[in-house]
């Protein structure tokens, strides 16, 4: 009887465990990385945006997840931030979203430069120019002259 009960419990657990294994492995890998970014060399506004990013994003997931993820292109960040922002109860409004987006684009162009260049190289000429323009826009706005 005990064996039957244990067997039943095992089946129930297996049923509930329906997380997509590949996605889970990907997230786990990111979350094991560093959980902070050294922003001391970034412009002041980007440092402030980093604070917004740390505060808002940790409501639902570890900060190490976006920090170590393989997103680097402006469009990838725009999509990801908007996806999170539009979740009911996210507490992220349009202006917060923009701050987070600007921080992530700036950070990716510095800390993840190799990854960003690699991704840019794979784009069509048109998309590459558009992506570079978006990165440049953030730098022009905040870099010390």
């Amino acid at each position: 009887m005990a064996a039957l009960v244990l067997f039943g419990a095992g089946v129930a657990c297996a049923e509930d465990q329906q997380l997509d294994a590949a996605t889970k492995a990907r997230i786990d890998k990111y979350e094991q990385g560093p959980a902070t970014v050294d922003v001391s060399q970034y412009p002041q506004v980007i440092q402030d945006n980093y604070e917004v990013f740390s505060q808002k994003c940790t409501q639902c997931h570890k900060l190490s997840r976006p920090i170590n993820s393989d997103y680097a292109l402006p469009d990838e960040w725009s999509r990801y931030v908007k996806r999170m922002m539009h979740k009911p109860g996210s507490g992220i409004d349009g202006s917060d979203g923009k701050k987070i987006y600007e921080f992530l684009v700036y950070d990716s162009s510095v800390r993840k430069k190799a990854m960003l260049d690699d991704k840019l190289a794979k784009l069509s000429a048109e998309d590459k120019a558009a992506a570079e323009a978006k990165v440049k826009e953030v730098h022009d706005k905040y870099d010390r002259k």
Binding site: L19, S78, K82, R83, H86, P88, G94
Partner: protein
């Protein structure tokens, strides 16, 4: 033996050792019996009566044979069972007993004992509570999980449900499902009408057909309450998916679904609603139209500036 004779004996150290006839301790006898009993139980469960083709968890050749695919009615039942475990069992339980807060039981349910059209209406059109099942109130929503199944598949699933876990209903034929579908989907567009529609209109028909509105709302602006879901305890709106997903990401998400909904209070109960795995249900061409429809929902002129 008197006291005198005992006291007149020589000291014990010099005497010959004698065998005592004391009885076996009771605990050894009990232990032996228990071990024998457990051994017999184990033997009974696992031996398959010396048939080397039988192994755990099967206990007899008959049982093993019963789980093999067969021709005709038996294979339809096995097929129904398989689809059931994939599509229905997650909530209703592979034992048909239902799960609190997720789905009512099917074993012994009066809903299962109804006529075929009434029974088929549930997977074909979905069902919104409150309802009563076996004298208890259930206030949940079920998506039309069977709307995308073939007539034969849905007939097999319903046959499986009607004949499992002590239920004693008859076999459901594919033709009966066809008739039920016609009775229920009276207003659904015909193939000829669909051919005339734009992708957005076809996508809206898909949204209706599979009952997406049951959770996400008729206008897809978000919908029913989902207690203890991290997303403000409600099923999310879909009108901004154009911002957050590429077409491929969106279609992949719909196909995979999301079984584990993050909880608002981690110690609280599991939110009752989750995104089902639609991949096996909605056709690829339909998914494409659905994505086009969902992308069209983004409010015009809204721009957050990034």
């Amino acid at each position: 033996m008197s006291d005198e004779s005992k006291s007149s004996r020589p000291p014990a150290a010099d005497s010959e050792p004698t065998a005592s006839r004391s009885t076996l301790p009771v605990w050894i006898m009990v232990l032996t019996l228990v071990l024998l009993f457990l051994g017999a139980v184990y033997f009974d469960r696992h031996s398959g009566w010396f048939n080397r083709q039988v192994y755990a968890p099967y206990t007899s050749a008959d049982q093993l044979a019963a789980s093999q695919p067969r021709s005709g009615a038996a294979s339809a039942l096995a097929q129904g069972r398989k689809i059931y475990e994939n599509a229905c069992g997650v909530c209703h339980g592979n034992d048909g007993l239902g799960k609190p807060g997720q789905a009512p039981p099917l074993a012994g349910s009066e809903w299962v004992a109804k006529d075929v059209v009434s029974l088929a209406r549930v997977p074909l059109a979905g069902l919104n509570g409150p309802i009563q099942v076996k004298g208890r109130d259930w206030n949940l929503a079920m998506a039309p999980m069977g709307a995308g199944m073939s007539d034969a598949d849905l007939a097999a699933v319903l046959t499986c449900i009607r004949q499992s876990w002590g239920n004693t209903g008859g076999v459901v034929a594919a033709d009966e499902i066809k008739a039920a579908r016609a009775a229920i989907n009276g207003q659904a567009p015909t193939p000829a009408q669909l051919a005339q529609m734009t992708p957005v209109e076809r996508g809206r028909a898909v949204f209706q057909k599979y009952g997406c509105y049951q959770c996400h709302g008729q206008d897809a602006k978000g919908g029913v309450a989902n207690p203890n879901a991290k997303t403000a305890e409600q099923v999310p709106s879909l009108i901004y998916v154009a911002d957050g997903y590429t077409r491929e990401e969106l279609i992949t998400f719909i196909k995979k679904g999301e079984r584990d909904i993050p909880r608002m209070n981690p110690a609280g109960p599991e939110p009752p609603h989750f995104m089902p795995k639609w991949g096996p249900v909605i056709q690829d061409a339909e998914l494409d139209d659905l994505a086009t429809y969902l992308f069209s929902l983004k409010p015009k002129g809204e721009n957050v500036g990034f």
